[in-house]
Every structure is written in C-alpha cells, then in structure tokens.
Subunit: 640 residues, 2 copies
C-alpha cells in the first residue's frame, strides 16, 4: 500500500510584532523554498503577519490595512501549493463592541493563488497576558444575536441587527441551520486527496470551554493543523502534549502543531516563543522535528498513518529556563538595538547570573561590570565581583559611592532633614543605579540591567530608582533559589570558569548597613527555601493561595506538601512557634499585597518564564492588604 501523506513545510518563523512587511517578506522566502522542495502545503503560525501581543495597535486602521494587503501577497503566492497562515480579518461594515471596526483572529487558507476559506478563532483566551476579547470578535456573540432576532419585533432593534452584521436571509439561516453554520465554520480542505483541518490555538486547547471546535472538526479530517502563537512558559509544552495527545487518540487523527519563535511584549512583560512545533501521531506520540527557539522551514514528508516508536522528550527544568532567558535577552537587545550593557556587580549571586547571561550575547568589550562599594561592602564581595569580571574578560570599573552618599547626607542635614539608617540605606541603592549606572550607560551609549529577582520583587525588598531600576529585569521571574540553580547550570555547561564558586556560598545580603555584614553571616531577612515556595503559592500556583489557604494547610499539617518542600524546613525555621509563623506570614503578605506593588508599577520589563509573572500577566491594583473573615477565624483558632 502506498503511504498516505503529503509534503509539508512547517513555517516556524521568527515573527517581528507590528511589522507586517518584514514578516511577509520572510514568509515569501519560506514559500519559495517550499516550492523548490516540492511541498504540498506550507503552514505558518497564528497572527504571523501582524504579530499577536502588540497592545492596542489593533486600533490603527492603516496597520490593519497593511496586514490584510500583506495577506493578499501570501494568497497570491499559493500557486502550486496550499498555504495556511494566521492574520487579522476586518469586516468594515460591522463593528466590534468597542465601536471600532470588527476584527477576527483568523486562519487564511489559499490554493492556486486564491483564497479558499477563512477559519476564525472562536475560543478566545482572556487570562494571563491575553486580551483577545478586547480586540477580536467572538463568533458566539453573533449567534446569540441571531437567535435573539427571533424574539424581537421592535423595528429599531431589528435595524440595529442589520447594522451589526446580519442581513435578511442570514438571520434565518443562522437561526434554522446552526448545524449548518458549524459545518461551514469547521470543514476540511482537500490536498492530495487528504482532508486537512485547520484551527487556531485555543480552538484546540478547549479544556475549560463548553464548546470544542476540534471535537467538531477532527472527525471529518485525516489530519488537523493547529496554528498557534503561544508564548513560552515553564511546563506549558507538557500540558499541551497531554491535551493534544488525548485529542489525537480520541479522534484517531494526527495533529500538527505550528508555533512561531521570536519575542513579543506587552511592555511590562517580555515573552519568548520557543516554536516547539511538533507532530502528534494518532496514538498521541510526539515528534519534535526542530530545535526550540530556532527558525525552521524544512519540508518534511508527513505520513499520516505513521506511528512513532517513541515520544520525543521535551527539554525541561533549568536547561529550558536557560534557553528561554538566553534567547529572550539576545532578541530583546537586538530589537532595541542595544550594543553595550552595564551591570552593577555586587559580588552576589543575582548580578553574577545576570552578568553571565549577558556575557553569552554581548561581547566582552561591550560589557561593563561596575562595582560601587560603600563602607558597608565587604572585601569578600568586592573581590568576588572582580573575579567574576576576570572570568568574563569584560570591562571592570570600581566607583566608590562614599563621597556622594556623604554629600547627600550632609546636604540634607544642613537643611534640617534627619537621615536615619533606613534612609541612608536607600540613598546608597539609588546612588548606585540612578547616579552611577545610569550615567555610565548614557556615557557608553548603552543600558544597565536590573538584577532584582522574583523573591525580592514580590515583597518589595528592593529600592525604587535603586536596584529596581534598569532597562529590563532578566531574572525578575526567578525566585532566589532558581537563580542559584541557574548559576550552577551556567557553570556546568561552560568549560571555563564563569561564576566564582564562593558566590554560591556567601550569605545573600544587600550590604547596605552594618546589620547586613556577610562576613558575620548576616544578610537578607528572607529564608529563601521557605519563602520562595510561599510566594510561589501566592503567585504561580494555578489556584493562587491566600493567607487563608496557608493557615488552613498549616492547621491540617499539609503545608510542606502543598508548598512542595521538606518538612524540616518549616520546622527548623519556626520551631513550632505559631505566633512567629503568623507574624512572618502577615509581614510578607502585607508587603506583597501592599507597598511592594507600588514599586512593581514602576519596575522594568520582566522576562517571563513562569506560569505567572508580574506585569500584565498578573494584574494588580494598589489596595490595602486583604485578609478574609475565614483567615481571621483560623488565626484565632491557631493562637488561642
């Protein structure tokens, strides 16, 4: 028997958000290559022409016009093969519910230089970074409108319906042939005698929706293609594999997942795209033909009856974390045209990891490590900062801040302002970033980095305009324990020394006062192996925990299990002191749910790697810290 299949080119391209002409030119190159290789089909990701995470650019009519005109060029290039690609579709005669032109997130399918059909996205994500309903029309609303028409005779209303996308026969059609509409919306395209189905992203990730486009389409198809624009998050590929494998098995239909690479941002949060395009056979086994975070457009033969011997493994843990950050930093500095990078090197782990990451993408001569000691900095950390710079072979400067902070103290005191120890700590932090690093960056025509980690950002253990400033926050989505793990990984994969070993062993400390003397073993007030997991439960856990949950777990004796830490950690830290446990919980919750957010509002962009990063991913409001009635009850129970 002859193999059933077709030659497909998966266009795992690097999309430039907001630049349709750039993306289109790249797509035309891919199509030309596919034609040379005799491909039957080229599939590009969702929103490959406009980009996806582009803020409110969707409100610019001439941008939309360009996207659709670029789409026409791709359609025209479909002589001799089939092309599927994501793009925006506007319907100028109808409006969105914001009063602007109606827009659909669409998959275009073209053959013989002509548009064959458009499949619009029905399931629209509105969680995390996604704002689909803000911009794209939901087909389901249109259907309700049609049904409502049945029961409305009022002439005014009837006129409104016509104005909004329904005309005489359409209304009846919608009402009486719902099944017909569905069939029309989700029907396969024939290529090489095979029935191919095309869906956008969430229309196959239907777990939490009542309506499932893939369950309607797949039974009619020999193979289903999913066009996505899906940002990288730790663990997300495995979740997709579970969902897609299950779909492939249930429908006995292979699924091809097509995702782009590149980076996109919503300002506060920068997302990397790993591609990870892959094929699920009808038994749910997975083949990942390309490397993560790499453009790919080789044409392969898709044998739709083939069963893979094994599933390709996803790269996981610190390895993929490193890949995402490396890629994100590389692409982001490229996109902003950044040539020189300045890093405040304290001798601690955070700045060391940030420096190591940047040294992978910026040449040593353009990388500036700056140590800015005050009287509170130990010789230990000063030496370690120098060792780090030596290891990286980059520029190294020492600019003491003593005279400047003393000048500030004196100027304030001369005017009658008291400068207490805490004020003096913050003066130091701001002096380093806003005075020295910012000036050096301007001088060399570069930028400086923010080295704050997620543990610190969560509770505002950073100084605004001090260590919380910088052009971007490369490790702002990593808890302190993850920073150590990443540092160790970087040392492991390099044959030459990168991060001096001693940096892993000194006590983490801000070194802003005598109370933070690392040589005396003094430092940060955070017990990272406990607090990291506590904070994780507030932010990244799917059902995000609140103090109420924490107390309930504590009472039930399952806190360590829920936080996924050793029993001994909580025990050693609190020694069974319930009041201390509660005080500690409230201390950090008050900061996280209170003042720390005031700092996050003004913090730099963060590279997202987790299931929930600060910024547009986790949306917040400056309110007073909230404790529920149940929390107060549990607290009383524990303390009494």
């Amino acid at each position: 028997m002859q193999e059933r299949g077709l030659k497909i080119c998966i266009g795992q391209v690097d999309v430039t958000p907001g630049q349709p002409a750039v993306n289109t030119s790249k797509m035309l190159d891919v199509i030309a290559g596919a034609k040379r290789d005799g491909a039957d089909l080229v599939v590009f990701p969702e929103m490959i022409i406009p980009g996806y995470i582009i803020g409110d650019m969707w409100e610019r009519p001439d941008f939309l016009e360009d996207c659709e005109a670029c789409g026409e060029k791709i359609i025209a290039a479909s002589e001799g093969l089939t092309i599927a690609f994501g793009n925006i579709k506007t319907v100028p005669r109808y409006n969105n519910e914001d009063g602007r032109v109606r827009k659909y997130n669409s998959c275009y399918i073209a053959q013989k230089g002509q548009l064959v059909t458009i499949v619009t996205k029905t399931l629209q994500p509105n969680y995390r970074e996604f704002d689909d309903n803000r911009h794209f029309y939901d087909k389901r609303k249109q259907l309700v409108d049609a049904y409502l028409k049945m029961s409305l005779t009022n002439e005014h209303v009837s006129m409104k319906f016509r104005k909004h996308g329904f005309e005489g026969e359409e209304i009846n059609q919608a009402i009486f042939s719902f099944v017909g509409w569905m069939d029309k919306a989700y029907k396969p395209i024939e290529v090489n005698g095979l029935k191919l189905g095309f869906l956008l992203c969430e229309d196959s990730w239907d777990t939490d929706y009542t309506f499932s486009p893939i369950d309607i389409l797949a039974p009619k198809c020999d193979v289903v293609f999913n066009l996505s624009c899906s940002p990288f998050t730790m663990g997300k590929n495995n979740k997709r594999n579970r969902i897609f494998s299950e779909k492939a098995i249930r429908h006995k239909t292979p699924i091809v997942y097509v995702n782009n690479v590149g980076i996109q941002n919503n300002g506060k949060t920068i997302y990397t795209f790993d591609g990870n395009s892959c094929i699920y056979d009808c038994k749910g086994k997975i083949k990942i033909p390309f490397d993560n975070f790499e453009e790919a457009d080789t044409t392969i033969f898709l044998n739709i009856d083939e069963e893979f011997e094994h599933s390709d493994q996803q790269i996981e843990g610190v390895e993929i974390l490193h890949e995402s950050l490396h890629y994100g930093i590389k692409k982001f500095t490229e996109q902003l045209g950044i040539k020189r990078v300045v890093i405040g090197a304290s001798g601690g782990i955070d700045s060391a990891v940030v420096a190591a990451l940047f040294s992978e993408v910026i040449s040593p001569k353009n990388l500036y490590l700056v140590n800015m000691p005050s009287q509170f900095n130990s010789q230990t950390t000063k030496d370690l900062a120098k060792d780090l710079a030596n290891n990286l072979g980059c520029n190294y400067n020492v600019i003491p801040i003593g005279s400047s902070i003393e000048l500030t103290r004196r100027q304030l005191q001369d005017q009658g302002f008291e400068v207490d120890s805490f004020t003096f700590e913050n003066i130091q932090a701001r002096d380093r970033s806003a005075r020295v690093l910012a000036a050096i960056s301007a001088s060399v025509g570069g930028v400086f980095t923010c080295n704050a980690n997620k543990s610190e950002i969560t509770v505002g253990y950073t100084t605004l305009y001090g260590d919380l400033s910088g052009f971007a926050s490369p490790i702002g989505d990593l808890f302190k324990t993850q920073v150590y793990e990443l540092g160790e990984y970087i040392n492991r994969i390099n044959s030459h020394p990168v991060i001096p070993k001693e940096i892993f062993h000194i006590k983490p400390s801000a070194e802003l006062s005598g109370d933070q003397n690392i040589d005396k073993g003094m430092g940060d007030p955070l017990k990272y192996e406990y607090h990291d997991k506590l904070f994780w439960s507030w932010i990244e856990r799917w059902e995000r925990a609140t103090p109420c949950d924490i107390l309930q777990w504590y009472i039930d004796g399952v806190l360590e299990k829920e936080l996924n830490i050793e029993f001994s950690i909580v025990d050693t830290y609190f020694k069974g002191d319930k009041q201390f446990f509660i005080d500690d919980l409230e201390r950090w919750w008050n900061l996280y749910d209170g003042f720390a957010y005031a700092k996050r509002i003004q913090s730099p962009p963060i590279f997202c790697v987790s299931r929930r990063s600060f910024g547009f991913d986790l949306r917040e409001s400056q309110t007073k810290p909230f404790y529920s009635q149940k929390y107060c009850k549990l607290k009383k129970e524990i303390i009494k």
Copy 2:
C-alpha cells in the same frame, strides 16, 4: 390623582476597592438611615461590595466568599424595604473559561430579608481600563453552548456540557424557550404597585452592541434603575446623558442612574468616580440631585410622572477637571496614608500647578517645596519657585546640585568614561529626583511627586529616574496647554495669590543646558499649541489618528479642522515647508511609538481625566515605530 412614585434612597457611597467589610458596614448605615426616612427602596451602585477595578483579586476564593457573605448581610437588612446592590456572584459547580470558578457581575435585589432575584450583566466592556471578560462570564456564551447541544450527540461533549452549567431540562429549556429566558432574565420587580427594572452599567450603554437589555426590559417597567461603577472621564457624563435620555424618551420611562464616588486604580492608572447619580424623566430631562465627588444618601420622593422644567447642567471643562484631580489627590494620599509631600519646584508651570493642587489637600507644614538649582538655572525661575512657596506658606528648601553632578562627572571621567552634554543633562535630572527628592521624602516619611505632563510623557521628553519619577503623576493626563489652563483656573478661584503670574509668561524650559536659557527665550522643542493637539489625535481621539491620517488631512487641507486648532498655528510654525512638516511629524511619532514607551513602562501612576490615559487604559507594546504603506505613498506624493 395621587402621585405615582416611591421614596428612594440613592446610595452614592464611597467604595473602598477590595474591602468588602468596609463597604458593607457603610451600606448598612445607609440602609438604617433610609429606613428612618421611610424609604421604599435603596439602590447602591454596581460592584459596591467588592469594588470593581481590583486587578486579579477576583482569583482569590476567600475574597469572593467574603463578598458573598457580606451580600447576605445586606439581603437580611431588607426587612421593610427593597434593596438593590451590585456584587459578585459565583457558581462554584461551573467554571469560567480560565478554568477558575464561574463569576457573574450581578445586581442583587432583596425584599423582606430575602433575595428576590439576581440580574447578571450581559454586555461586558473590554475596552480602555475594562477587563470584564477576563473575570466575568458572559451569559451569551452559555446560550450558544445550549444551542450547540442540539447538534452534538457525542457522549463526551454532552458530559462536558453538564459539567459546565447545563442540566437535562435546562438544556431543552434554553433551546426551546429563548424568549422565556430573556423574559426571566429581564423582568421588573414590584414595589408600591410600581414595576421597577434593574440593570447594570453597560446593559444600558448599548450603542455598540447588537443586543440591548434595556430595550427588552424598559417596555415592561414604570421606571428603570441603572447601577454603575463608572469612572470619571472628561465629557463622559454628557455622552451618558445623550444615550440615557434617548432611552427614556423612546420607552417613555424614567431612568435612575446610580454611580459611586471614590477612587480605584489598576496600578498604572488611577480613576476617580464622580457619582453624578441622576434621574432622567420620560422626556429625557435630567435632574442631578447631589454634588459630584460627594457621598450622598438622602431619601427623595421619585414621582415617576414628573416632568422636569429643565435639565440640570453638567459641570464641564477646567472646573470639573480641577474637581477630579483635587478629589483624586485627596483620596489617593488618604488611601496610601500619605501625610507629607515633597515637590521639586523648578519655577515652571508644571511643578507650580502640582504644588497648588497638593496645597489644597496637604497642610503647609507638611508640604515641602525644594528648588535644586544647577549652573543652568536662571535667577528668574529660582525667584519664582520661592515666590510660589511663599504664596503657599509651605516649607521651602534650596539644595544646589552643582557639587553632586560635578562629582559624578569627575568619577566617570576618572574611569575613562566620556560625559557629553546630553549625558550631563540627564545626570542633573536624576540627581534632583532619585538623589535629593527621594532622600528628603524618606527623611520626612513622605513621598515626592512626578510633575511630568502628558505632552512630555507622550514623546519621552522626561528623564527616567529623573523628572519621570515620583509616587504619582497628578498632571500626567494633561497636555501642557491644559496645565496652563488649570493653573489659571486655580488662580481665579483663590482670593489669595497661588501661582506667581510670571510663571505663565516665561518660556517653558528644562534648564538643563545653556541651550535652554529662558532669559534668552530658549527652551522646550515642543510647540505646545500645535503638538498638544497632534498628540491628542494619536491618543485621545476616538478613531485614534496615525501619521497616515495626519498626512491625508494635511493634503486635504483639513488638518487644522481635524485637530481643532487655528489655521494660523500650523502655518506660522511650518511656513509651508512640507519637508519640515514631515520631519517634525516623524520625529515625534518615532519617539511616541518607540523609545518614549520604554519610559512609560516605568512611569508612576497617572490620574486619569481624559478619554485615554497612558497605562492600562492605552495598552502598548515596545515595538519599532510603525509607518504604513499608505503613509509612505502619501509622503512621496507630498515631497515630490
């Protein structure tokens, strides 16, 4: 004939977002007062128990539990009268499309201590600051699900529907009695023999929706109540009056609009709520019984047949702008517990207006004006800053930055870093804010303000960690010309001198270099009377303009008309030089659509007064400035 009507208490209360217990206690007081006054009905605004703009707090189960438990207390208080109020409603056995518990934005109506009915919000705004679909379920999706059920026999899918909110009979019911569902969803409640309808916010602002709850409900009612949580924006009340008056006339039904006061924020943007609760008679005339931005809960008799002699006028223009900012600043400082405020006083208009605004809510002894001259500051502005402080009677300090900026220059040069003029300008700006103002704020236990205006923020004519820093940006939503207008207004309404007159006449300048010498008439590169309107068209105009629109208007000779400025302004500025016109356009667009956004990401919260303020209201992405194909074509046409 006896007057048809009822005694109503409009609960125009000040909501504290995220604090259900606080809001509930206030509501119980209002209810007790209403009972004393013999009210038949108390109506509170939308989401009065939880607050509305609270970020992702909706994801906290114990917060939701508290809100619903508080709601029970309000319901129990309805002995002897009818109560309508907004609150969240969860349906734990079904899920939202993000996988979390299903939530409805709901209006609860209670009588005799019992819940009578719940009306959920169907039309959900997802524009500007609104994220309704992110959190609240849209009833229309549920209906589509029901209809889909008809065409799906697959057991798996059918199970899913049951899981998601439909049970045996419900499915058939939904399918076969759509009209029945609507009737049930939108039916009046009887009080005093009158039929009262209740709707939430957008369900009456239906202009851009195909489905109109008010058009279904109003014909069955003697009066319709609209419960809103509607942030203040210049001109919005007049828009609402047009829509609501038209509805009242069409349905010959009076409408009572109930809105809260207070402030709510989504971090980057702070919204004030003016209340502006009002009554529309059946001829569309308007009575506004309470003051804007004031709590009110007096019981009034609503004669539903009464026709008002005239419509009450809305307060508009600079007067309401001032009220909103005054109220916002007062409430925000109160909420954050801010007692002392430090303001960098340059002698220019921006800091003068900010100081004048804060002097209205902070006592002179807690207000610190600080002048920080360098060699580039003129005696003129130094004197004006002092005059301002004298007028306000507040603290005044002069802290020269000369030694500090020279120290920075020297420290950099000693290490081989060049300090050019531009670098030196930014060193000055950061020295003032991040060194001096931040330290003084910490010393006095207060905060310092950001005095940047919208013209500057639009194109990044500000220094990050310099004049763009501060705890909040009170005039960040006002273009420079509006700042002058507000300053003049403040002087007009005060009997004592506030802003020294000369401040209105000096050339606006940053005074950061010899090229910005105001005594020589040199200063900002912005021609505010033109650029303010240009920027307005990019940001606040409903159909936001792009460079493409600007060129088209320029070609068509309608630019001045579209920007609403005098013909002479464009003519005087560009003198018919087309190349200059285009260079100027691209210069500012490149900044607005490029680097300026990098600064906005890290800018302080802005008090929103306009139709579109920076932050979560206008969502952006760091991309390269975009010019469409059509723009390039028009540009060629103009230049050739």
